[in-house]
Symmetry: C2
Subunit: 272 residues, 2 copies
Amino acid sequence: MGGSLAAALKKANACRRVVGVVRRPEPATFALEHGWVDEASTNLAEPLPETDVVVLATPVRTILELVPLIGSRVRPGCLVMDVGSTKAVISQALESLPEHVRVVGGHPMCGKETSGIDAAEASLFEGQVFVLTPLKRTGQSTLALAHELVEAVGARPLVLEAEEHDHLTATTSHLPYLLACGLVGSAEQVAGDHPLLWQLAASGFRDTSRLAASSVDMMLDVLMTNRASVLAALDTYEARLRLLARSLRSQDESSLRQLLEAAAGRRRSLES
Amino acid sequence: MGGSLAAALKKANACRRVVGVVRRPEPATFALEHGWVDEASTNLAEPLPETDVVVLATPVRTILELVPLIGSRVRPGCLVMDVGSTKAVISQALESLPEHVRVVGGHPMCGKETSGIDAAEASLFEGQVFVLTPLKRTGQSTLALAHELVEAVGARPLVLEAEEHDHLTATTSHLPYLLACGLVGSAEQVAGDHPLLWQLAASGFRDTSRLAASSVDMMLDVLMTNRASVLAALDTYEARLRLLARSLRSQDESSLRQLLEAAAGRRRSLES
């Protein structure tokens, strides 16, 4: 996500300089070679006296570790934002930054199941929703700057409260991930006796299970920092599934048809 | 599926003549205009004295209605096959055809969530697995002819027993469909209070829920004719989901990581 954002900002010529700060030298070299950054560093502790905007783009719990290190390294007025997948815990962390730092949370709704610098692409954000979660202390001019950044990469800003973001993405993103993992786990179990199963796993299975290939480090942070909402979403989902199972078990075809038609109608109304 | 098969057979120049028999005049005209058939008819009761191969390509329970009408209309030695999504009930039906008719079941593993003649494409089968389910009475030469047909459209034949096919596709295909419907149903429920939810339904949600857009007529037939296997697959799946929920609820991060890593490893090993 960090690589894609750097690439998109460079492509839009939206920043005087784009500097990538990463843990390992390989992605730094890769990003430099692709012209996605003007400068790349692996020194996470470096002072950032000339930086206008810092974007933290790591798994959520790494963001929580990084936030306390930022305050003393940036100049007054610098905007610190993040693109972490859950927002409430990060909002709390950002709240603790010194008053002279400007803060806002962000989350572009265009994650991929592939990760790392070689999965980066400048066009990732185009036409996608980019959630912004202002804190109480986030002023109008700070939010306006965040809007500018979002629009520079071709995304559509959507302002939400951090809690509402987490509540809704539990259903739209974290739940689908767990379903995909559960589906792959089920198939693995059945394949124990029938290894041929994998040859029958066609595009329908692959679409439905795609998210299971996501970065486990990233998703573990998401689940652990949005636990209550994810468990609630799982409960709602299991109840829906039981409704489907019950009508199938009792051969109540008209109930079953009604449930399936409702899902089909809604799903067809969304983008493919 | 029928339209795609006709188009693929025509493209491969695999048949002397390809005749499409459909219920309504519009798809007949459409297929003729696209050069996917040499002739199109809406007369399902027409005798077929010169036909070498009849392929039944409709929802499963319509196939069950059509099979008894076929026997008296084809010449001795004609191959009757089908591309229905469940195979055991169709095998039983094919068994009842007169001895002079050759029979085999088939199921190409390349269904789409879109249906109808305008979703047809000649390249649909290329490189895909095409299951063949011989009956006891299916002789070697009949199976060889079915292989030829499958290979003519660029697919890879895989011979399975009808029951094994149904048992495995309950997990690889029918279960993913129900999960997708359950996910859309969950989201609908949450969106009742938060209509913004749909704006957050990004590619992860769309991939995981894509199958919910499938033809309800087709899928209702699938579920009703593979009920026991689908319910068993749902049970296995719910148990997997509870395992995930339990480790998340108890914050047992190492168990959770283990489950997620196993799913990620397997999913990454499949085609994207």
